[in-house]
Symmetry: C2
Subunit: 391 residues, 2 copies
């Protein structure tokens, strides 16, 4: 196990109707002038926004609003938010929505307190150490942004989808009401499940030895997705399934299960080019990239792939042929993704083989440069993995 | 799943030599005058105390000291600490040691800020909402107090071993260096492992339905103990085993794996009478009480006992006779405890059957009163369980 620091100071408020307490928690964490940040009209149509505003009003908390965050949130909205916050003297940003809205709120929060261009945090190795306080009312379990210190923003000039992180980006509180996720259609639910599993898998595939506790915790989240994912898709109003997925989504990405181990993240990096080029859902892109990556790197550590095959996918261990066990695990993962309605290749996703050179070029590795922690991938490896994902 | 709040704002600093950063973290979290609280002379003889003081000195942080905390920490030391803190203007309490030292530090921290008797927090349903800031340098993984908002203190007048809790008792930071635990002898190591498993089991046995994520996370900690516990006992200097146990011990009790579910805690309550009467190690008492409790309540939910038997103890499911599976799981747990050197009955612990009425009386349930969340135990049930534990 490697040395690590772990700090997750977010106050989680989980359960039915908890959005009605949002005003209480903004006040508790010192907010007096709030920016409510949100995406499309669904949070308005559903009545959620009315409940949020009523709760803020009840506590006498003043607020301004900025909607229109899009999936794969973009820099122009962030600049708009920064300007609005400065003009209005906002001291607390409340994200009402999913990962895109929360990530956009985080970028604004960092930018308001920074003299330069907020994009510096995304384009340079600069951790965010100061930010306006953030709270969230989560509506989509997937990104884990409600508990993480990370944010991903797309710069439209060049379609650069890059990330920032830092302790100051951890939300002060996150309100998690599983009922709010019941209106998610099956496809979006499945994208979320895939994203949650991918966050775990990026941590699971490691070269760090002796990490039994985090291995086992990673597996516990994957096992939960295997059980609860199909239940939520079969019955969108299944509160129990929605609740298990929602809490798992937070735990999958606040890094509790990733501490003390080298992590990979090359599948995410490769996926970002898919969602940048085709504007597909991040989870759908991951469903395509992750099995391809697995097939490409399986020989790097057959025992680790066999371990997940046995422990998560209930593959009987083939002691005479561990590689067969490992491959069957990948096969079952892919079948699981298909079964919940995810695309598992370029064709199903709507991506084009002829764009592969462009995606490799956009990742932009120079000679000798690589991505990934588990296996270090060159541009040639990345191209090979994209090609494995074609069909 | 039930509604819940979860808040674990402790900054964890994990790895080799991290105690040398203690001054940095005291400063970061606003301490300027520190009480160093500790137990016996081992932290002095090992050189740990010198390193802690050097780190504080380096940051120019003033400190006073109070040692002599005993296992099953007592109220008189708490009063001594409260008086010392008030006299010296202490604004930060640094516990250097295991759960007893940390629990004593928490009691002092609560008492300093309270006008009445600190024992009120332990004798009444009064959560601690204000306390002097606490930091820890952990030397014994077991109690999980380094990440929890709980404290157990024994009042010597009447030997009342009672607990307090509250958000204000969560340490601001905890330094966890697995190397510091390598000097723990096998018996004490095994007591810690048992305590960690017991913290998980008190949460695992629940009547709350649909708690897959926390079930699985609980199991992941138990599986880790089954693998890493014997390794640490066989080779006390096995850093990897020590590291896995140390992190698992925190996760087992900061309540991440217990959220959203009714918990039990009757085994702990019954054990407290054992350690109060015989001054045995808490973990050893739990090794005696938990299997007895399990045998007594197994029929209440055979499927839950079968689940843990299959998932944690690798018992093949007997579909024709799930109770046999359940019982074999309990049997394997008991055998595991024996294998790591724990007592599993009164005789091995040094407890006396004739004291059972006294222990039942000390728990002090009136007619109609019960303890326990999974199965509500009357005084008669408690007596029966103590008798099951005799041999």
């Amino acid at each position: 196990m490697q040395d690590f620091n772990f700090y997750s100071p977010t106050y989680f408020v989980f359960g039915k109707d908890k959005e009605n307490l949002v005003g209480h928690y903004v006040k508790r964490f010192g907010g007096s002038k709030v920016l409510i940040h949100y995406g499309g009209g669904s949070v308005i149509r559903s009545g959620l926004m009315d409940r949020v505003k009523a709760s803020l009003n009840k506590e006498g908390i003043d607020f301004v609003e900025l909607g229109g965050v899009q999936p794969n949130p973009i820099d122009s909205k962030v600049y708009e938010g920064i300007n609005l916050c400065r003009k209005e003297g906002v001291d607390f940003i409340l994200a009402v929505g999913g990962g895109s809205t929360i990530d956009s709120a985080k970028a604004i929060a960092a930018g308001v307190k920074y003299d330069g261009d907020f994009w510096d945090f995304y384009s340079k190795p600069m951790p965010v150490t100061d930010a306006v306080k953030i709270g969230t009312v989560l509506t989509i379990p997937a990104a884990g942004s409600e508990g993480s210190g990370d944010s991903v923003i797309t710069k439209t000039d060049g379609m650069l989808k890059w990330d920032a992180s830092g302790e100051a980006l951890r939300p002060t509180f996150s309100i998690m009401n599983p009922e709010l996720t019941m209106t998610l259609p099956p496809y979006q639910t499945a994208c979320g499940i895939t994203d949650i599993m991918a966050h775990v898998l990026e941590r699971y595939f490691t070269n760090t030895k002796d990490v039994e506790i985090t291995d086992r915790m990673c597996e516990s989240i994957l096992q939960t997705m295997v059980k609860e994912g199909p239940r939520a898709i079969a019955n969108p109003n299944d509160y129990a399934a929605r609740a298990n997925i929602m809490w798992a989504g937070m735990v999958a990405h606040n890094n509790l299960v990733g501490v003390g181990r080298e992590q990979d993240w090359s599948s995410h990096r490769m996926e970002h080019e898919l969602s940048a080029l085709y504007d597909v859902a991040h989870g759908a892109g991951l469903a395509v990239m992750f099995p391809a990556w697995m097939k490409y790197v399986v020989k790097h550590d057959i025992n680790r792939f066999a371990q997940i095959a046995v422990r998560v996918w209930n593959v009987p261990m083939d002691f005479a042929n561990p590689e067969a066990t490992a491959l069957e695990g990948i096969n079952r993962f892919e079948k699981f993704l298909s079964s919940i309605g995810m695309p598992i290749n370029f064709e199903q996703l709507g991506a084009k083989e002829e764009d592969i050179p462009k995606m490799v070029e956009r990742i932009g590795l120079k000679d000798g440069e690589t991505i990934g922690g588990f296996v270090k991938l060159t541009s040639k490896d990345i191209e090979n993995i994209y090609r494995l994902a074609v069909n």
